[in-house]
């Protein structure tokens, strides 16, 4: 017989809300912060975003150039591997499709890299097709530094550690290689709906 925690009743959410919650997650209304080290602060005049690696002509945008690209506003549910989920978050930024427009590459993977040395790996197909953005605004306000400002990656269909804060670029790779948390025991892919939290899940 399955294990039952004596005396535990729990607090269920409405079916409408709980249907949007991946297994093992709970809803929050605030926006918790998790990061591995101090929040980096790079002045915008020294900030750029680059696409490097398996690409004939590496690409680079300054902050102004990035802001001048076609913008999109998107709403997403986000899911952190530490178990909280937040529904209907609203972001503004540029689609990774726009950044990769016209790029010829044999790469199947990408490593997002950030100020402070953080990295996260993703299959390239999870960054394209409207599934990923580089965002600089949250809830109509500039993205706060502790949440990854000036800009972070947003890939909401994967656990939020893939949505690298303080992102500065993408390294296109022929073969998958683990990023920061992935080399510390977390899952290489991180699908919240399949509860891929840790290696082997």
């Amino acid at each position: 017989m399955a294990f039952v925690s004596r005396g535990f009743r729990g607090r269920r959410r409405s079916p409408a809300e709980s249907g949007r919650l991946p297994p093992g997650q709970y809803l929050v209304d605030d926006f918790p912060v998790l990061s591995a080290g101090p929040t980096p602060f790079t002045p915008l005049d020294r900030w750029d975003f680059r696409i490097v690696g398996e690409i004939d002509q590496p690409r680079r945008w300054t902050w102004e150039q990035l802001q001048a690209l076609p913008r999109e506003t998107l709403a997403a549910d986000i899911h952190c591997v530490t178990k909280w989920s937040k529904l209907d978050t609203v972001w503004e930024g540029v689609s990774v499709d726009t950044l990769l427009e016209g790029v010829e590459t044999a790469a199947g993977y990408a490593l997002a890299f950030s100020d402070g040395g953080y990295t996260a790996n993703l299959p390239l197909e999870d960054l394209t097709g409207g599934k990923a953005h580089v965002v600089w605004s949250f809830g109509g306000e500039p993205l706060a530094p502790e949440h990854g400002g000036p800009a972070r990656l947003l890939v909401p269909h994967l656990y939020l550690w893939k949505s690298a804060k303080w992102v500065r670029g993408l390294r296109l790779l022929a073969a998958d290689e683990p990023g920061f948390w992935e080399s510390l025991g977390y899952h290489m892919y991180g699908d919240p709906w399949r509860e891929q939290r840790y290696a082997g899940d």
Partner: protein, 252 residues
């Protein structure tokens, strides 16, 4: 960013509550016997899963307070008034109850003797829990004089200080842990520590000089961690040697 050996799949396992100890009015230590516990590194946490009779489940993560060599696994859980899991763990759970666990989890906010020091441990509120595991482990294996360590903690009142007895014991031996506590909401007579919030001034006083390349572990609520990690970087500590973990009213 040193990689660590990735173990096989983490599976859910049952631990048995051997002892419950109230640290303060709101924080309870849960000591568990976990057959087949694979061992952990100080600073890591564990996932806890509760299951109701109808199959409804809730999961949360809690830091481990015990050192790796100890017989029992100790968690310290803070009661969040609006919480779903912490009221059960701090009010309902009894000795001999069983608890489903998965872990250990987390490979960055950990310290081992090979990482050296000097160690600077800075904890706000229940953020002290993983730092206690580190301090206990250091005392047990590292040889106190080899890796000098300072712990700065912040608590609201004297009655909110967690692991007070353990800290006193860890500080007591020669070459032991240097402990500085600060209270943010009261100035009790006879309090030997500081008062007021941790700020850049207090950190400048307590932190090891940057030239000694200290290794810092900072854990607490987001605002606390932002301030402390930023101030330590401002004092010249290497950002890559400032490891952070955050506890919020929600989140971990």
């Amino acid at each position: 960013m040193a990689g660590t050996a990735v173990r096989g799949r983490l599976t859910w396992t049952l631990g048995t509550v051997v002892e419950l100890a109230d640290q303060t009015e709101r924080v309870r230590s849960i000591l568990l016997e976990v057959p087949g516990w694979p061992g952990h590194r100080p600073g890591q946490h564990v996932d806890v899963r509760l299951t109701a009779e109808d199959g409804y489940q809730a999961q949360r993560s809690y830091s481990i307070a015990s050192a790796p060599g100890e017989r029992l696994l100790e968690l310290a859980v803070e009661l969040l008034p609006d919480g779903e899991v912490s009221p059960y763990l701090t009010r309902e759970l009894r000795v001999a109850d069983r608890l489903e666990l998965r872990g250990p989890v987390g490979g960055w906010f950990v310290w081992e003797p090979a990482l050296g020091g000097p160690l600077l441990l800075v904890g706000g509120g229940s953020g002290i829990v993983p730092l206690v595991a580190i301090a206990r482990h250091r005392a047990a294996v590292a040889g106190d004089a080899e890796v000098p360590a300072r712990l700065l903690y912040s608590a609201r009142t004297r009655a909110d200080v967690l692991f007070a007895g353990d800290l006193e014991r860890l500080a007591g031996s020669p070459g032991g842990l240097e402990v500085v506590g600060t209270l943010t909401r009261e100035r009790p007579p006879g309090w030997p520590g500081r008062t007021g919030r941790v700020d850049a001034g207090l950190l400048a006083e307590v932190a090891w000089p940057a030239a000694r390349r200290p290794l810092a572990f900072v854990c607490g609520p987001t605002g606390f961690v932002e301030l402390v990690a930023g101030a330590l970087a401002g004092l010249g500590l290497e950002p890559g040697r400032i490891r952070t973990e955050r506890f919020g009213p929600t989140g971990t």
